[in-house]
Symmetry: D3
Subunit: 193 residues, 6 copies
């Protein structure tokens, strides 16, 4: 377990590349800080979805959120543009291999269980995985809005089609995500208008 705990420390230092490339100063947001934001947003979102009557496995939601960027200790945080040069399937395979290497040593049972969670997230196979992907974007936009309120400019592309974005969700889960996305878009209109 020690090797995983030490390796995750790297994520506390690793800047999210998207902000750096757009001129935000060093230390704007670390991968670890973003993962925290995603996990908390996912918890609030899952609880809301549950209150609306949809069955959600919150434990699974939180596990997925905490693990979804862990492989970046070995791959770094690649900008979105890089995917088009490698192709999505290849990126997925590389990230999975890196994830397995991080987890190596926890014992076969644990490695397999964590690997299945990673696979679920990458494939968006479960409702929980789709909720975490939505939380990933929710935290991205909340961070963008926070930067914009503090004076940052040039982040418009993150907001394009945000309110219409489809995460493969249905019913009340879709509605709950739509509500928070619209609230973000409206708050932003007030901040930069």
């Amino acid at each position: 377990m020690l090797s995983v705990l030490l390796e995750l420390q790297r994520l506390k230092r690793l800047d999210r590349t998207g902000w750096v490339l757009r001129g935000l100063p060093p230390g704007a947001e670390s991968v670890a800080a973003h993962s925290y934001g995603v996990a908390l947003a996912a918890m609030l979102l899952a609880d809301e979805v549950r209150r609306r009557g949809v069955e959600v496995n919150v434990e699974r939601v939180l596990r997925l959120a905490l693990l979804h960027d862990l492989a970046e200790t070995r791959t770094g945080d690649m900008p979105r543009t890089v995917a088009q040069y490698y192709g999505e399937e290849l990126r997925r395979r590389a990230e999975r291999a890196a994830f397995d290497d991080v987890m190596r040593g926890l014992g076969r049972e644990a490695e397999q269980a964590y690997g299945e969670l990673h696979e679920d997230y990458e494939r968006r196979a479960s409702l929980e995985a789709r909720l975490v992907k939505a939380a990933d974007i929710v935290d991205l936009l909340a961070q963008a809005l926070y930067f914009e309120r503090a004076g940052a400019r040039g982040l418009g592309e993150f907001w394009e089609n945000a309110a219409e974005r489809d995460f493969g969700l249905e019913g009340e889960a879709r509605a709950a995500v739509g509500d928070i996305m619209r609230a973000l878009v409206e708050a932003r209109a007030g901040a930069t208008g």
Copy 2:
């Protein structure tokens, strides 16, 4: 939900005061990044404890870890020395009041549920709360070791009595925490010896 999501962004910027006061450079570790480390360490630890046959509510563990420092959006990250000037009980009451203010607006049911989790953590009432406190220290020491391997000095006080530290745990939970604490202490002996 929007107000909580925006407020948590502050934790991504807020430096952990303990490192700053000891001369680590700005941006060494944010409160949000630490909370991520605690949540991931708590998940690994709880899973290990469960493998050893102890019943643990992992969902509760993860909720506690994600919420335990959230009030710092309003109180900042006070250094440990400050507690002696205010007294422990008062610090607890102030932090709880701040926590409730952060959560205000999520609806009475949600506010109450999250407030009870916060209370549990502060009182170390459940096995889950005690495991999260252990994970809090495990991530602190993993971070200290990471800094020391990169050349930092003057962090010795964090390691005093680390291996003997008691978190109110018993049986296999106590043993699992003891194992990882000893592994950290040994790795450190190798790094700075």
Copy 3:
């Protein structure tokens, strides 16, 4: 004396929490840098007040300015919101206790003399203490304006009622502070208008 000199080094690293929580990047302003700004502003202000015919003890003004945030080596820079959770009187007592601990070892005579200065500032007992409090706000607003001219946004709350703010001053002292406060507010109107 050595222990005080080493302890004050912490203030050179400690970020002013107010800026951090509003999204300014790490290293925006240290507590030590702010204390310098307050001391220089206080000197200019006291000299101006003296030129207008009011008797001011400038030595006392400068001592108060240099000491007024020194206790933050032990308490950190708490955000303004935190005071409402602890109560003003308690905050004052805690800060005084921390201040005394910093000064411990300079000898009884010196400790007592510095402690009385700290008390005067906290109670705004003298004209000099009130001038330093005004300088504290003057430097805060000059810093905010400097950030805003460089593109920062979201700092409006610092400016609310700034021009009408009362520091318990009278006559020419009040007039001199009012002049500089109005000049700041006008310069800001030009910068962000």
Copy 4:
């Protein structure tokens, strides 16, 4: 030309991932700053090789050095570990595609000429390309030594087999590179011994 000039600004902010993952603070070394170090080292090295009687095209050396990391405006600075997950040939193809996209718009003639230089560097086809690769490592080690002299630790892996490293050079070019590599290794032995 404007689009290239604006895009290269990103490299001034992008941290070299290798240092970040090993705990150096944000802003330790940007990709642009490293590229400057490589270009200057390559110039000094090529001039030395020429003084020793080997024919070198210094203009080509400098062009290769300035262009060799330019594609990172789109791919980011991937850590060395990432190559093993994608495979070296694929990494090369992806980087070349990104490089061509950066240069798009300079006109067919220019695009082709710069593309050939990039290809030469990636294939180490010419003496000039091999000298730039050597300069890349020379600047890496000079940076590591600079960090170590300032207190950084944990950078040992960069130095393994440094003195014996083969860049496919022969004769006086090989000797000149060997001299500077040995000088670095000796200076380091003095700094950390």
Copy 5:
């Protein structure tokens, strides 16, 4: 050669003072990163001028660009205001002396050759030196525009008379520089309008 390589590492850390004084955060742009931008801009510019039929020694252009700020390892990056206090001629002599000290130890032949390049740049004696000076301003404005697009304000003085600026160039060289300067000014009008 080792001493030059180690000394240049300082330029990777040294912030460009002009940005710092205007409120950009630490690490906004290092002297080394700027030198990289100048060298790449100079290469693109010289290649364009050559395509327009003017004979340019590109090797000389690149050497001048890489060396033009090297003396700042010893003098630091003085703000433009400082020149008026020392006088331009004196600044030039001091910088030349510092440059020679940096190069000391490379052997008489090399020292003299590099010194003559430095002198050429300072005197704008050759077409190549004048092109590098133009590239110096082109990279300055591209950096300013990049900052402004990310939200920075208060950089207007850098743009005053930019489009009319005369670098002592003639014919197609003058036209090529004019084209890129105008493109920068137009892009800026779009960004901040």
Copy 6:
């Protein structure tokens, strides 16, 4: 007064060049933070000298400390090496001219009074000026020691002959400065031994 207050904000951002050139990270110590350290050290030192029976004008001491680096808003913080290229007398004249420009607009009486203080400090004409110069070095060494305790290396040159350094002081003033310098040297021997 407003223009001085705004201009001094620059010193809160300006890094002390000496640390930057030796590899300390950006934001290690600002000129404003150092000025605060000097002023507080000067106050403690002057009070101690007074306790030992020497007459000292503490108001003058504090004024000198607050003003001694103010001209750096216009000249930047030049490294010590730069003085040898310009000559000490010229540096002094340039800094005085810059200082007068900063103060311009405060009214003739104030400008002249502040200018005389600046002159006194530069010439070390009074006991107070010599005490401030001693405090300047005391804070420099306390800062170096703080960095070294946190892991910094390569700062040895600051400590050479520190204990024997002569500030033109006599009697009890000389003894008090000697005591604190020796205490610093001894504390350092413990920290790095």
